[in-house]
Symmetry: C2
Subunit: 97 residues, 2 copies
Amino acid sequence: MDIKQLDEKNELKQRIFFALSDPGRYKIISMLYHVGHEMGCNELNQHVEIDKSTMSYHLKTLRKIGITNTRTQGRQKFVSLNQATIEKVLPGLLEQL
Amino acid sequence: MDIKQLDEKNELKQRIFFALSDPGRYKIISMLYHVGHEMGCNELNQHVEIDKSTMSYHLKTLRKIGITNTRTQGRQKFVSLNQATIEKVLPGLLEQL
DNA sequence: CTAATTGTTTGATATTCATAAAACTATAAT
DNA sequence: ATTATAGTTTTATGAATATCAAACAATTAG
């Protein structure tokens, strides 16, 4: 693996660490991991107590980092954890949350 | 373990994630872990290319979080990783850096 | 005593970040 | 058609961050 790929890997790690450094995002990620399946944003909101626009903002961040997937069904959006992406660069991390 | 202790544990985790979310701090932590022994700030500076005052700022952050120890000898300060603290809440993480 | 070395602190600056209210879009229900 | 639901975007605001130059210790060397 060349230096460029190493840097990219470290950048992804750092973005994941950034994601986990905020209490709200930590709870979102932890919740998604522990329930083990996708959740509607509203459902998430019932468990993680933050304003819905703040929630949307954080979810957008997670999406941009690339550690969540979103599926739209009707007027609902279901968010799920892109577990493989995380495991690939930081195996074993999710179990620690 | 009660909720308060859990919260404290998660707070420490989140602070560790914050520490690792910055490229400079990531390199410092990674370097300290991989060399496996304490390093002088100046020595660190030769490996991690950041301004010495920025370095000092980041090292202060790590100290406040509680994941490094500092020992003064003459005019040098030796920094080492408080590995046990990290391992306690996030076992296996350091090997991934 | 005067330099140089090692590191911290202060101050200024630019940037990013988190938060929430308000307006907005899209879908579903009545 | 209206209204309710689900979520996003915009806008504004305050707080936190990162960076670096310059001044400031404290120790050591010449």
